[in-house]
């Protein structure tokens, strides 16, 4: 059906909603008007708001001597390490896990380890993964009723890392990545359309008609395909279905205000793909908006990909390759210089993470704030990078997941399996599986010390 009358005294959205009429809308956006209780602290039926999940990944690892807090314990018993000092103000929400080792054999530098901490299993030698990443285990549980069922996926640096996992940290399975979006401007446009603050265009119905035709083509094609291609085509159809749902959501309109326009707020943020604080801030604003509005409850944020070769100019580290000069300490200025530069780079990276956590903390959500109701899993592609270590791995959680995670803890468990961290995350979000990972990376128990 197509809207024929473009001139109407009724608000356009009202008209368009009427056209949607009694059609089954598969998208019960929680943040529509009337979906929350009178105080906006819970859903209208009284149930608490659902927690949000985000994987925050940075390439090139961390040095245990710089990353791991000196003392372990809860509350005043521990203090952030130098690497984590940019996160000091969020200490009540931090859970630092140290001493954990990646147990899968390091067959492929910068591939085996990130695959293990994201999926619990060994990488494939082409740099792909064998299993779904933790965000894609959580998405079907938490996110199916949102505008982005597979989550939102953003990235800061678009510089390659020697082919390790390509640029990706989110995988539905082998050969099925969710590549990051490097453009805050494009994400803004997408979120703006869903925000309910702009009048929807009647042409939305034209898009729906086209997508229906594309779906019909795909259905006819599917019958001719082998098993591998059917999986790929089905994933394509998921994307078509997501677009159709988003059109419905745009017509209905959310009730979340307007997202921050990165071109207005951060015009000097640098080109898409560059490592700048401004780009971290722009994406932090947009992810906060998307989480707050529950346009998605799952997201990933790649600061830099595994073994990323980008420079960190804003950190005062010049235009040289951070991976090479500092991660591998191959600077002509020597190893001390390399070590110091590496530490500077990691602290700069945590500063970018702080931009996200600050906005989460400062955004009311339910009876608390968005950081209270989120869990951010922070990790990397390697431990101490200059010898490609996989022990005492950088593993950090931020947020309290709606009160399930206690926070303000440094828990040290030397030699333990790093997969227990994503296993714990999976269980916090209600994952039914009894185990996480495969082979040497598989675990069947979490870390109760992190939980309330």
């Amino acid at each position: 059906m197509i809207l024929r009358n473009k001139s109407t005294m009724l608000p356009r959205r009202t008209v368009l909603r009427g056209i949607l009429g009694g059609a089954a809308i598969a998208l019960p956006l929680p943040r529509l008007v009337g979906m929350l209780d009178g105080n906006g602290t819970a859903y209208a039926d009284g149930s608490p708001l659902r927690p949000r999940y985000l994987t925050w990944f940075f390439g090139n690892g961390a040095e245990p001597a710089h990353w791991v807090p000196t003392a372990a314990g809860v509350g005043d018993a521990w203090a952030p390490s130098p690497a984590l000092m940019p996160l000091l103000e969020f200490k009540p929400w931090l859970s630092v896990l140290s001493g954990y080792d990646v147990k899968v054999p390091q067959l492929y530098a910068h591939k085996s380890a990130p695959s293990a901490v994201l999926t619990g299993a060994q990488a494939m030698q082409n740099g792909d993964v064998q299993r779904a990443s933790i965000d894609q285990i959580i998405a079907p549980i938490m996110n199916a009723d949102t505008a982005f069922p597979g989550g939102l996926h953003v990235g800061i640096s678009d510089v390659t890392g020697a082919g390790a996992l390509d640029f990706n940290i989110s995988f539905v399975g082998p050969n099925a990545p969710n590549p990051p979006n490097y453009s805050p401007a494009s994400l803004f446009n997408t979120l703006l359309a869903l925000s309910g603050t702009v009048e929807p265009d009647p042409s939305l119905f034209r898009r729906k008609a086209i997508l229906d035709a594309v779906s019909a083509d795909a259905a006819a094609l599917r019958a001719k395909l082998g098993a591998e291609d059917r999986i790929r085509l089905d994933r394509h159809l998921e994307g078509v279905g997501q677009l159709q749902s988003q059109i419905d959501a745009t017509i209905i309109g959310a009730d979340c205000g307007m997202p921050t326009d990165p071109d207005v707020a951060y015009p000097e943020r640098g080109p898409d793909g560059a490592i700048t604080r401004g780009r971290c801030e722009a994406f932090a604003e947009l992810l906060t908006f998307a989480f707050s509005c529950e346009l998605t409850r799952v997201a990933t944020h790649v600061f830099s990909c595994a073994a990323c070769h980008a420079p960190y100019p804003e950190a005062g580290l010049g235009q040289v390759t951070f991976h090479e000069d500092y991660g591998h300490r191959l600077s002509p200025m020597g190893t001390d210089f390399g070590t110091a530069g590496f530490r500077t780079g990691v602290e700069y990276t945590m500063g970018c993470l702080a931009e996200l956590l600050r906005r989460f903390r400062d955004t009311p959500d339910g009876v608390g704030n968005l950081l209270d109701n989120s869990l951010v899993y922070v990790t990397s592609c390697v431990g101490q990078p200059w010898d490609h270590r996989m022990d005492d791995y950088p593993l950090l959680l931020a947020g309290k997941a709606g009160g399930l995670v206690r926070g303000d803890v440094h828990f040290r468990s030397p030699g333990d399996n790093a997969s227990r961290v994503p296993f714990t995350v999976m269980k916090v979000f209600g994952g039914p599986d009894a185990t996480f990972g495969a082979g040497e990376g598989m675990v069947d128990s979490g870390i109760p010390e992190l939980l309330v």
Binding site: N126, D128, A164, N178, R207, L211, A213, Q319, R329, L330
Partner: protein, 581 residues
């Protein structure tokens, strides 16, 4: 020299696997990844099986071959195709390609599009069709018939059928035409605008999987032993994307309509015309761009203080030069492709001429020049592009340069570094600024440490031969005052410098084989199987018979049976693993 062809395409279910990986020289297992030590090894015959490390086993290997898969148009193919259909429109980027086996074209046959990727196509094609239809008089040149109004259904139907045939590389059936006519009718009814009605129908046709994927699956052919035979229309698509990196033209589709492309003879009847078409340059450039990973030039930074010469205009010139060199030997003055490997002909503007030590010219045209006899710069490995692409921001990289030569030109395998290796090469004990050493001295631990030597001996000696060229590709007599030793050996053949290495590369017996293998991988969308070694040898022979001309290689590649047939699902092939390990 041992040659064994081992596939890393996963179409294979290894029923018995060969021994697990180690560092092998001279084998032809494929390697993924681009960086030193970050490449992968594949001696298992599968790069995406459940056994990433390989398994132990001996004797014969039985492998089950997957049927052909759809191939998503790569970003380049998508752009070329849209430009063919709609003119030189601009579009937002669509989802990134994935590199498998060193090629986007292989990733395109394997990797699924994400939901965000589907949205990126809708957005890109909305922009493309809006631009193309912004001026109806321009749009009229793109379609068979421009509707006089929304009720001009016959005209709209004609345009949809014609545009769809071109975009989908086959005639649409009646239901398909009806489906998109219905869109036009709805939009026409809403807007009263026949042009917009047609534009929306075309926007839809271009979002269809029949446009976005190369659906070339073949059908079982009893006269051919049950093998899958590609139809004439599938062949039109295969020919066009292989030779032109874009859609078939009307002539090719007409030949397909007449079922003339199902035979080698029918294909040969198209080849001369296709290779003479300007789009053949686009096709060869796309292959070279993927083979040499030219896309990475965009992310190559150089220390601006140390190398102010590294300007955007220089980067554009060195990219243009590589394509010009290729086009020169393939199209403009067709000759032995491997003359590229040790040739002295370069293409420069004044900025690049300065880098190459050549005089400026007036006017500053992009021009063919010949480096003087005795110039240390020679061949592909002397091109600024390959020297700069395989270097670090402030330094050269013997390892990256060596990996390029070993893997890309000679198809050797360079495995990843062993676990927990300490890669500190500059550690002189006190942690302070390092006394300058030549790169050869710095890399000495690669030779003295057995854990490093096995693989770095494949790469470093070749890369060190290029030490007379800095990270931008500019010649230097010394390295900060230290004497450069550029000597080494390639598979037992000694050389004194880069120019001598260039000659050895041209003469290397594996060079033709490697080029054949790379082009096969690119065109097939998968690495060749072990059992296809004989086929590659045949093509290599035809390349030799064709005086090593690249057009001869292309003709051979697209006229052999394997280009017209594929193995059906469940085909099991046996591979003798008895030698070459």
């Amino acid at each position: 020299m041992s040659r064994r062809l081992l596939s890393s395409r996963a179409p294979l279910l290894a029923l018995a696997l060969v021994p697990s990986f180690a560092c092998y020289s001279g084998l032809t297992a494929t390697a993924e990844g681009e960086g030193p030590g970050d490449g992968g090894t594949d001696l298992t015959g599968a790069d995406s099986g459940d056994d990433p490390g390989g398994d132990s086993g001996d004797g014969a290997e039985l492998l089950e071959v997957d049927p052909p898969t759809m191939r998503r148009l790569t970003r380049a193919e998508f752009t070329h195709a849209v430009h063919d259909l709609l003119g030189a429109v601009t579009m937002p980027m669509v989802e990134a390609d994935s590199v498998h086996e060193g090629f986007f074209s292989v990733g395109a046959a394997r990797v699924a599009l994400s939901p965000a990727g589907v949205a990126s196509y809708e957005l890109a094609l909305e922009a493309a069709t809006a631009q193309a239809f912004n001026d109806p008089s321009d749009a009229a040149t793109l379609v068979a018939c421009m509707p006089s109004g929304p009720a001009d259904t016959a005209c709209i139907r004609e345009s949809i059928a014609a545009f769809g045939r071109r975009a989908w590389r086959r005639p649409l059936d009646a239901d398909e035409v009806d489906r998109y006519v219905a869109i036009a009718e709805e939009v026409g009814g809403e807007t009263g605008d026949g042009v917009q009605a047609l534009r929306h129908a075309l926007w839809g046709l271009l979002q269809s999987p029949y446009f976005l994927y190369r659906v070339e699956l073949g059908s079982p052919s009893a006269p051919d032993g049950g093998r899958l035979k590609f139809s004439s229309h599938e062949m039109a698509s295969r020919l066009a994307f292989t030779l032109w990196s874009t859609l078939p033209d009307e002539a090719l589709l007409d030949a397909a309509d007449a079922d003339e492309l199902a035979s080698a003879e029918g294909i040969r009847s198209q080849v001369d015309r296709m290779l003479a078409d300007p789009r053949a340059r686009q096709g060869v450039a796309n292959f070279i761009g993927e083979l040499y990973s030219l896309w990475k030039l965009d992310e190559k930074t150089k220390d601006p203080d140390a190398y102010p010469v590294w300007t955007p205009t220089l980067q554009a010139a060195i990219r243009d030069e590589m394509i010009a060199r290729i086009e020169h030997v393939v199209f403009d003055a067709p000759t032995d492709f491997f003359s590229l490997y040790d040739g002295r002909e370069v293409f420069v503007n004044n900025e690049l001429a300065a880098l190459y030590g050549l005089p400026a010219a007036v006017p500053d045209d992009f021009r063919l020049e010949t480096l003087p006899e005795g110039d240390p710069r020679r061949g592909l490995i002397g091109s600024a592009l390959l020297l700069a692409m395989n270097s670090l921001p402030a330094r050269t990289s013997a390892t990256e340069r060596g990996v390029f030569i070993s893997e890309t030109l000679l198809c050797k395998t360079v495995p990843p570094p062993p676990p927990n290796v300490d890669v500190d090469l500059d550690d002189d004990g006190d942690g302070g600024p390092v006394e300058h050493q030549t790169l050869r001295d710095k890399l000495e631990p690669h030779v003295s440490n057995p854990a490093c030597a096995g693989c770095h001996n494949l790469t470093d000696p070749l890369g060190l031969a290029l030490e007379h060229f800095d990270t931008t590709g500019r010649y230097r007599e010394t390295d900060l005052g230290l004497t450069i030793d550029a000597s080494g050996d390639l598979d037992g053949m000694p050389f004194n410098d880069a120019a001598e290495l260039a000659v050895l590369l041209r003469e290397h017996p594996d060079a033709p084989y490697c080029l054949v293998k790379k082009l096969y991988t690119y065109s097939a969308g998968r690495a060749p199987l072990l059992v296809e070694d004989g086929l590659l040898a045949t093509i290599e022979g035809e390349l030799t018979d064709g005086d090593n001309r690249f057009d001869a290689l292309l003709v051979s590649m697209i006229t052999h049976d394997d280009f017209r047939f594929a193995n059906p699902a469940g085909t099991v092939v046996g591979v003798d693993q008895g030698d070459g390990q």
